[in-house]
Subunit: 101 residues, 2 copies
Amino acid sequence: TEQLVPEPSPETPRARPCKLSSADRSMRKGVMAHSLEDLLCKARDVLELPDKPFFLVLEEDGTAVEMEEYFQALADDTVFMVLRKGQKWRPALEQGSRYQL
Amino acid sequence: TEQLVPEPSPETPRARPCKLSSADRSMRKGVMAHSLEDLLCKARDVLELPDKPFFLVLEEDGTAVEMEEYFQALADDTVFMVLRKGQKWRPALEQGSRYQL
């Protein structure tokens, strides 16, 4: 018998929850992404970066995420910082270690 | 035979327990919500925000929750902070590390 109903590809990775952060950490949004490409598209939408080139780094330590397979190995709810050209990752000020100068 | 009785969509997600927190964390209430839209309605009722625009962020880290699919991926009993325009998420002061300046 014929099977005409399209099936989802068994190789399509499930969508995973991710967090997108602006470079200054003032904004953080939750999105779902199947792949690094999907996440880049969503970052473009969410952060309103229609034309400008940007890239993603791990918010915790600035590791650039450029490889699909590396993205797939990351945990759910990983926080990705969106950096435009010229922007640099900086460590977060830790709570409780914030000093007045 | 015809079926004229409307059935609930099999895709209607089950109601999940959620917690709503005020921006200053002085109030926290438990509600059930099927969807992000449902949760927004309940937040409006519970926090008595009849007309004012507001949005929801995760209480733990300020992640904005704007996407239905992201909402669906969250765990039961997630705490959502309700923020009105101009209000900002701030990290909770941890007990035991609260210093007077």
